[in-house]
Subunit: 359 residues, 2 copies
Amino acid sequence: MDRRSVIRNAGLAGVLAAGVAPAVHAQATLRWRCASSFPKSLDTLFGVCDVFAKKVGELSGGKFTITTHAAGELMPAFGVLDGVSNGTIEMANTASYYFFGKDPTYALDCAIPFGLNSRQMTAWVYEGNGMKLLREHFGKVGIVNFAMGNTGVQMGGWFRKEVNSVADLKGLKFRCGGFAGRVLERLGVIPQNIPGGEIYQALEKGTIDAAEWVGPYDDLKLGLNKVAQHYYYPGFWEVGPQLSLYVNQKAFEGLSSEYKAIVECAAAFAHTDMQAKYDARNMPALKTLLGQGAKLHAFPKDVMNAAFKSAMDVYAELNDTNPAWKKIYSDYAAFRKESNLWFNLAEASMDDFMQSQKF
Amino acid sequence: MDRRSVIRNAGLAGVLAAGVAPAVHAQATLRWRCASSFPKSLDTLFGVCDVFAKKVGELSGGKFTITTHAAGELMPAFGVLDGVSNGTIEMANTASYYFFGKDPTYALDCAIPFGLNSRQMTAWVYEGNGMKLLREHFGKVGIVNFAMGNTGVQMGGWFRKEVNSVADLKGLKFRCGGFAGRVLERLGVIPQNIPGGEIYQALEKGTIDAAEWVGPYDDLKLGLNKVAQHYYYPGFWEVGPQLSLYVNQKAFEGLSSEYKAIVECAAAFAHTDMQAKYDARNMPALKTLLGQGAKLHAFPKDVMNAAFKSAMDVYAELNDTNPAWKKIYSDYAAFRKESNLWFNLAEASMDDFMQSQKF
């Protein structure tokens, strides 16, 4: 029975007289806009908006409609935090570490070098103190944040020359995302902030020496392997990068409790769906890249160790100078310590065993 | 504005005249029951029902109510598949490997020895062919299945004596879950099928020599460390055990599209929430167990290798004798191979590095 026939057959008076909860929805038709920091070509990072919007539509019987907008369509890629904060748009989909220049604390909602992995990040946000602490922080600028996706550990990017030691990083012009530059510049890297769509050209022209984007599935789309053949892992600055949904606080508070739950659950569905997509699609993409001549390398141990030390120094300095960072990072770091102890037992030994089998 | 005031202020005629979608919900008030295979004391395995039911209530504005029932309340723990299949109840929450006696194919919806880990399982179900294949299989008994939770890699259980080689498994009376017995009996183990609530007594009395349940958080509740001190990992027979929501197919098909979406999204929320709970709670519980004298051991390599070989033999035999198994396992095994290649790169190297740090 569809909605119209319910009305035809019973009428509102009949529905109300039946003594059940009144069958009128708490909210009229809504049409909201969600601005993304990503281009439409990225069907994972941008696509999560469409997955979310579709679920909101289904859950609300088509009454709550969200239109999705690529970076630049309504506002620049990095303008979405201000856009949601001041109510220009109701919603945005972004990576919070893009706003580390405003306050490094934002990066804790996404990724910091040597941070939590994907499952750990979700555990901290869902079950630890993560969401509570992050909500307090985003509340200061009138935003309600939700976890909406994770990429898993990213790759370390494409290099024109091999990296055999920390010395090879000196003077290297490297396109890297978010907070990573703060750590890498201490190793001599010259971090470059270049939008996704311009990386290929910059690397081809030699304006930069190396570039990281996400992982095989997204990197293949950009064609980076055609201009730099050495493909490094792991992207230690993006261990479990979480993507976020921002909702303007006033707009959110004006929603009925059903619509609030719909936003929360549709974001939760999209959150899990994105990690599943990366986990399923990265290996086939990597095989294509290797077939086209990409050379796979692990970062040398001295690079990992030097970067780790540099990261811990940066965090210690932030603890001394930024109370908002210190409050959230203290909790984050304690969770990281505990959860790495746990993941080192059954999870690690099982993964090690399975990965060493010839199936 | 709440529902009543919408009605007071506008009236149904006014709402309809406004030309927007009629604000009458597609479905009257519903009250369904969900039977669990777990006791209420397990606030993760049983608790997932309450997380799910609460979300369904919120998403439907309180109109779709689900009451949750512990094992034995409406039907026995292992009676829920038949109960949902024949429509005695609308829903159940269970671990599909409990039904491997009916058909080992069911175990592929939960866990098989040396199977997919938690993220891989979700990726196979959400993004690979997993859900499509499993739905076909459950469709044969009139059930629509949903992923609703995962525990992560479980522990290998509690042993009264150390296990130093495969020889130590000979004649060992071991309580273990699901499909594990089929593999372990080939190593000389005598598998024991004992409900969770009776394990402690059996181990204390010496009726059994060892028992596995889940992991530190749940094992601590059963107090197993008080009767067997050697705590082994990993539980190679439960690498990424998925819990499931079963819905009677006819009942599901009778739902409006909104209510179908509500069931799907509430289950997705509960799915992610359960893994987050285990990931956050296991380490504190393990510390308590170690503080009470538990002795942690990794299974010897020869046990792992012998069990792996035994598992692959069992699967090869099933491929020859069970077409339903073969169809789904072929896809599952291909996904396992690919995803272990992928997880062996950035994920494994990053986890290794992080787990070796002293924070």
